[in-house]
Assembly symmetry: C2
Homo-oligomer: 332 residues x 2
Amino acid sequence: MDRAVTISQVAALAGVSTGTASKALNGRGALRPETRLRVQQAAEQLGFVANAAARSLQTGRTYTVGMITTDSIGRFSIPLLIGAEDALGAGQMSVFLCDARDDPIREQYYLRTLLSRKVDGIIVTGRRTQARAPIGVGLPVPVVYAFISSADPQDCSVVPDEADGARRAIQHLLAVGRRRIAHVTGPEHHHSATVRASGAVETLAAEGLRPVVPTLYGEWSEAWGRQAARMLLNSGADVDAVFCGSDQIARGLAEALRDAGRDIPGDIALVGFDNWDVMVDGCRPALTSVDMDLEGIGRSAAELLLAKINGDPVQGPRARPCRLVPRASTAV
Amino acid sequence: MDRAVTISQVAALAGVSTGTASKALNGRGALRPETRLRVQQAAEQLGFVANAAARSLQTGRTYTVGMITTDSIGRFSIPLLIGAEDALGAGQMSVFLCDARDDPIREQYYLRTLLSRKVDGIIVTGRRTQARAPIGVGLPVPVVYAFISSADPQDCSVVPDEADGARRAIQHLLAVGRRRIAHVTGPEHHHSATVRASGAVETLAAEGLRPVVPTLYGEWSEAWGRQAARMLLNSGADVDAVFCGSDQIARGLAEALRDAGRDIPGDIALVGFDNWDVMVDGCRPALTSVDMDLEGIGRSAAELLLAKINGDPVQGPRARPCRLVPRASTAV
DNA sequence: GATGCCAAGGAAATCGATTGCCTAGAAGCT
DNA sequence: AGCTTCTAGGCAATCGATTTCCTTGGCATC
């Protein structure tokens, strides 16, 4: 535990005043190059690292942003975080991660903490894309919502265009020659499920088609996927492709269809949603899936936040397109 | 964007000096209860939140810790983070998350940033349990390693006792009446693979048994699990249980064994490692697995860090026991 | 009534870095 | 030579909260 080096020690070693040392290290003021170098060498030699607290007290900037995940840090938050870190890290900012665990009390508590730490901005994320109540009104710092969106249309939100994802999935199936398409997805009360479902139905309608069976709503699980497969087979419906609301559902279908002797993609092609590596790779055959580009959303949210921090009055929701990743489950 | 409220505004409203206001809000000094209350009400009314930078400049404490994950934030880091946040959040500390992405340059950069921010301590984590070089020597803040361990035995590391996990897996299989046990795991050069393998072999040896086939080393993937299943079946070995080095491998085995008409657990019982929810629940039948209690490790690391911050000279590695979670794949 | 003591709260230094203002000296100009 | 104009760098205020002395007034005691 060494004692921390302060700028006055650097200044003393370089034989200048603290003010001059500060200017030298920050490239400000009018200094002889030689003096600047001398200070820099002194700083190097002592291993000087500026005290961020002192600096931000003076400048008002902390070069810190807070990230509040409303639900437990999970599969969706992590890529968002990585993307955000990416965009911010390049600009030398650090991220405070707060896990509110779906608890409004915790959320407000974290909000206070972040405000107390005078973060330059806040990113709010969650597990669901559904709109949520704004985290606060009249906050002294800019806020951007990522993945989840704010119910206030004035707020800046970056969300995946899930209907676009569904459209791409359906168009891909059409492109590989399928016409008798079913849709199996999560619970009907779940925003993502309904948005993806209507995206799928509308895309089919635009081609003059309809799903061979009405959308099957269930859960976001492999077990539901297996059950849905049995339902489809028992219904006797003539299906040549299934678009699934999640990779887990798709994988469940794949297994149950295989068990029933159906060939994928020969008899039935399969498209998932999320492009979750362990699912798409573990599935036999590897699963074609829709990628929401969560990292891109995180990066984009962070960039917008930086813009807001710099005074740019960005507002409103922004939807980002999805990407289809074709694999063996829809190979022609 | 309101202007931030300072303590002097609170003091003015309450009709006291800033020093008195500070004492009132922090429960220090000798004040009339009535005065204290008046200040607290003024703070409440103005929505005062103390400036953390100013406070830490004065007190030297930031109530902040840094968490550096050496690899990308992944499946292992998340529970560790949650556990750490849990232990720290209760004590009002915040976490800076830094993702070094296996890049030593990034790591050192983050280390500097954290030091500049005068974090009270640092937790280092990674994806592999193998020992790593200390992140720095003579650092001015305490460091604790979680999951990963430091090569310096003086450093404080909290790691899972993987040999213990392997022992529990084998003992469980023995308890359900299996004697002809095989072990399929990840790459031989991977620390976890070898530790778990020797743990398994030793536990068998203690019962006077040996694996029915030599340990099968491969990758940490379902594909390898499937391949290993075929190898086992083709070898003609009489196997009644397989202990797998990971849940993914186990799931691959389960699928391939099912395909070959083997019943699990009737013909062959299966135990995985990691207790990763999507794998153990998605597997048919649900997979018995070894849980390393990553959240507990994170929590424990954070608690040790707090102890170090408070001057307790904790040192050395600490191994935490695993837990076996029995499910259908080993049901009697 | 004088002294001492305690409770309550104020004044000011302090943490470390930044920055606007000022000054000393050098250089350029007439 | 005397004046202006730069240049380089020092001085000191500043950010906001904490904390260490002090001061003041009230009360009890002798």
